[in-house]
């Protein structure tokens, strides 16, 4: 899981015992990457970003958002797009360690910088302390907002290892969860803070 290539994450997914390899959901990472390189990118400029510790580059139109680049070009689909205008937080990633809405961040503004996505925090077989706490506290239902929640929680706990309940609420105030699973999210943040202390 230190190697965050698309191939590895896809294989990680397929390996899981509680999930199933529905044929229609598995694309060939190599083919997709090749296609992304060859695709007519329009009036584009090159961008190089460190994503989850790994150098990524591409040629992008100025209007391309970081969320689009992560998802469509680099295959990191853990970062979700819920509203595409910064209202729901499903696209939250860490940019140089700070949480941002990647749908409101142009990929060119991330040039030369470092991005951490939810895939970079941990993997199904090696959950990060925050991810583990989310599973233990049932901090999710449908799971679509969960990557954004996890990244926001990670940012909080890095900044403030022992947050108060109010700080926890404020940290995920930009993340909407329509299933209404906030109590689990708060409990996960509490759990991660203790876990981080003892871990």
């Amino acid at each position: 899981m230190d190697d965050e290539t698309k191939g590895v994450t896809r294989r990680g997914l397929l390996k899981g015992i509680a999930t199933t390899a529905v044929a229609a959901t598995a694309g060939s990472a190599a083919v997709l990457a090749e296609e992304a390189r060859k695709a007519p990118a329009g009036p584009g400029l090159p961008v190089s970003i460190t994503v989850n510790g790994r150098a990524q580059s591409g040629v992008f139109e100025p209007r391309t958002t970081l969320a689009e680049a992560l998802r469509e070009t680099w295959g990191l689909t853990g970062t979700k797009i819920g509203c595409d205008r910064g209202a729901c937080g499903a696209c939250t990633v860490l940019l140089d360690g700070l949480p941002v809405n990647s749908c409101l961040t142009l990929v060119h503004d991330a040039d030369g910088r470092s991005v951490t996505t939810v895939e970079g925090l941990g993997a199904p077989e090696a959950l990060s302390p925050v991810q583990k706490a989310f599973v233990e506290a049932d901090g999710m239902q449908c799971g679509f907002c969960t990557p954004g929640m996890v990244v926001s929680a990670e940012a909080l706990l890095r900044k403030s290892p022992n947050p108060s309940p109010d700080e926890i609420r404020a940290a995920v105030a930009g993340n909407l969860c329509r299933c209404g699973t906030y109590a689990g999210v708060f409990a996960a943040c509490e759990g991660a803070k203790k876990g981080a202390r003892h871990g």
């Binding site: 509680a18 509203c83 799971g143």
Partner: protein, 771 residues
Amino acid sequence: MAEPTKDAPKTKIRVGLAGKTVEKEVEIPAGDPPPFAEGQVRRVFGGRSPRLDGRFKTTGRAVYTHDVRRAGLLYGRFLRSPHAHARIVSVDTSKLAKIPGVVFEVLEKKVVRYQGDPVLALAAPSAAAAEDALHAVDVTYEVLPHVVVLEEAMKDGAPLVFDKPVEEHRTAGDAPGAGGKVEQTGNVRGPRASGRGEKDFAKLFAEADGVLELSFRTQVQTHACMETHSTFAEWKGDELFVVASTQGIFSVRDELAQALGLPKDKVHVSAEYVGGGFGSKFGAGDHGLWAAKLSKKAGRPVRLVLDRKEDQLAGGNRPDSLNRMKVAYRKDGTVTAFEYVCHGTAGVATGAGTGSVVKNSYAFPNVRVEESDVFTNLGPGCAMRAPGHPQGTLAVEAALDEIAARLGLDPVALRLKNDPVDIRREEWERGAKLIRWERRAAISERNREAEGKGLPLRRGLGCAASVWYNIVSPGSQVIVRVHRDGRVEVENGVQEIGCGNPTTIALTVAEELGLSPDAIRVKWGASSYPFGPASGGSTTTVSLIPAVRAAAWQAKNKLAAVAAPLLSVSSGAEVAVGPDGFAAGGRAVSWKTVCAKLPGDVLVATGDRAKDYDGTDPRLFGVQFAEVVVDVETGLVSVEKVVAVHDCGLPVWRTGVESQIRGGVLQGISYALFEERHVDRRTGRVMNPNLETYKILGSKDVPEIVPILVDVYTGRNNTQTRGVGEPATIPTSAAVVNAISHALGVRITQIPVTPARVLAAAASRRKEVTA
């Protein structure tokens, strides 16, 4: 449904509230395992445990429809009407046709009836290219008069949304009774009349000690699933492979097969993870059909994802409602007659009725309900988490509170007068205790003191009941495979939209086979697996889990026969299965040892959903209590606590049920206080089709929620289980509104209870007090 045969064997089982069960004779279908009995210890079924797909969801490895990528992928989009009502004069695609790599099709329609009505579908090699391509289309519209307000649409001479009567189609999440043919006059389709008891209501009203007339108005709520509606489609030869963000894999398959003229076995639908549904994702949708058609045309895979604006405009919604009530009651609080007339608009669709609650929640002896749909030039409404029920509950529970206030009775005492069901009475009692309802009179007194001193804060307590139904979608089938190396797999096609089906399936199999839940590999989310129910109407668990147990039980029986010779007992002997393997006659043999003796490579067992047996009342109940603080100077309402007491038979997975109840409560609070679709009357356009000005409850608005489960032996299926998705949200908004009314001393009769409405209510109270 099969007629019961005369000499069908009857079995005596105990049914009803845990601890207060009674004996009942029921007919248990042959081949179905004996139902879970009271006092029987269950190891993992019914307990708290982690969500088994949690490690995929928390790490971003769960793949949703939005995430499906493929070499050669095209990005699908719709061009949609900017007008509420217009005739399409021409669609000029000459510029579009010159863009390389773009495929498109003009939809066959002459009139658009709402802002967001699709006009043209296209697909292009990138999201940006698809966006650009939309701008290359020139549509000439002749704008027609529109109507977007319920009351205006009901008037004579209002612009007609449809010039012909409209037929209603049922979907899986609808309330019972929806569908069928109904009169249509102008934009009003209805009334659909129903009821029970006496016909002569004039007499009942004349004989009553009191008669209350009250109206309650509710707004349009959108589902706002975090994953917008979306479909991925690709063809391999003449077979269609679809990944759909859906609540009903099999309904999407059937719908696409029909629409495209394909046999069902040529359409393959999968949906492993779905980012919410709440009733809006049952059908294939325009997006599904056009993803498939454009993919066929292009010879390439297409992913068609609605953006948030499209989703808010055209992705479905909970219709608004205007509910007029006339209620006759006796001095002791008994309701003797309930007349209920409701109108609502689902835009260009139907399904706005809210009257089921009046008929089913309480034991009102005489009920008369008239429900009408009113068409307007707005996006189609559809099923949303307990269709009609939050609306009807808001109305009925406001009326009951008002009658209690007029009679000087305690609101809970008044409800108990009208509520003979033992399960619900137990729930009233437990909920009242947990919210400390006995403080209510003292709180009223303190509110009067605060008012006298000119202080801003008021406190309020409110309550409301829930009713929903034991809806079983027939036909679920489950396959359990036990491999010679000891691995266990279980297959069912059901989707996972957040209810936790992979976990409940694993828990049920693990319970029966004496294994750990994480040792069960669940294969779900594809039409290639055996039929599974749609996720809606609180039908999934009740329809599926008994079939899961039946399959696991069959597997266990087959394994016991394999184990018998190893245990030196006869093949028909009782063999116990537990975490230590198989045991009989004082001997034990491990799981692995037995599996190694399987005659073939794999043991296959199947289970069907047997017909329900007639144990208890086929309704689900529940009560909720809310405590609020209202600031009469700012108009802000703060919900401090909600106690939610529910029954869902025997819960399969307590953690998941509690999460679902908390979520239902939050959607209810959000509906009561924040959410509202705003439409400009002049242009007929929605002004807030997004998630920043369409306000949804967020982290800072979350109160303390206490979910309580009352176990019930339903005597209807082998796991005694039921759903809870809808009941969890039905009474919340009513309990919150009643609490606000208590705090203000003014009856609130419209949601959302915005600060402006609170201030207006507080002002009317001041006028009343000073007058």
